[in-house]
Symmetry: C2
Subunit: 199 residues, 2 copies
Amino acid sequence: MTNKIQTRGRPKAFDETEALTAAMHYFWEHGYDNTSLDNLLVAMGIKKSSFYATFKSKAEVFSRCLALYRDETYRQLKALKEQIGPKATMMQLTEMTIKELEESGNVKGCLLINSGKECYNRYSDLSHQIKIEFNFVQDLFVSFIKEAQELGEIISTKDAHVISGRYMNTLNGLVVTIQAGASQELIDDLVESLKEILE
Amino acid sequence: MTNKIQTRGRPKAFDETEALTAAMHYFWEHGYDNTSLDNLLVAMGIKKSSFYATFKSKAEVFSRCLALYRDETYRQLKALKEQIGPKATMMQLTEMTIKELEESGNVKGCLLINSGKECYNRYSDLSHQIKIEFNFVQDLFVSFIKEAQELGEIISTKDAHVISGRYMNTLNGLVVTIQAGASQELIDDLVESLKEILE
DNA sequence: ATATTTTTGTACTTATTGGTACAAAAATAA
DNA sequence: TTATTTTTGTACCAATAAGTACAAAAATAT
């Protein structure tokens, strides 16, 4: 991947993918606008000169982070599915959100959803990319539901697109509902409703 | 409300509530951070000197806009409920979102949800207020469901809190799902799921 | 007429933003 | 050794941010 044959001159002291991963996590936690270039440089562990010698702008780095997020999400979810099966993998998404809330007192949500809201009607190039990444991940979820139906983990009378769409919508809704200040009872029932969707 | 007995001196040339209403709509469309003071002054139709002679800061104005939004929402929904009944009023919320999408090509969503996300883990005072306003409006929805159940518009076997919570969560989820770039089929099914929740 | 208060307008401050310029040091291949 | 390239560091730039200061004009109650 990043196997560039060593050319003459001082080699890059940082790994591009590692730096992008660090940037992705910072963006994920703070959002695009609320991440200043200085914040980003500290998170990535490189200096401004190195940054602009490698990337063309903050926006380009963000774009690459979105792609990286989609890649990582895809990779990790597929790996998890091989271990615990498709239905358990879907439920795990909910459990991770609740666990994060209980352990740290807050939730980050999905980077694509967060960025979709932030970029909507403001950064059309990023919005366009987010749409593509979002539907890419959405398709993965549909394939999980289909596989779960074949395995008999989920009843086959409902359309996989419908189940997947409603599950993810409810989960993404749960995050914004928590962020708006929902009561524990409301959160608990929404988690219950997520279980029901996968029945 | 704003009946202040005329004191000596040049009277205020603008109505505070009108200015706040204009500010509220600007914040609703653009968010808090993405609304500069200059944007706000143009939207409110007043000059910087008048602004700071009346309000103490941008944050205070935003806070008052949140309260105004809750007030207006409460007032308008109750009025609508008197006209078309509680269940139709709830469905109207979905219809408004879809109508807005079809007519203008985009959705604004709920100011409290949008602000909840934007302020979460960043502006604790505002976050705290949003939580209060959000639950205030949420309680109104619960009362609508209860009334709809009494009227026989919605079956009474399910808890009103559950119905209200799931409906609003799905609707708020729908907005962020649209903003992330959902397909028309997904949007259509989520609207269908909103109908089912109120059955 | 006068005191009072809000108006508008202009100028300013301090901080931060994303991004550029450039020199000197360091690390490596040839 | 030399050519090449990346490193760090410092100094910039123009734009924008929220907010302050203050004078002069305008509108009103008394």
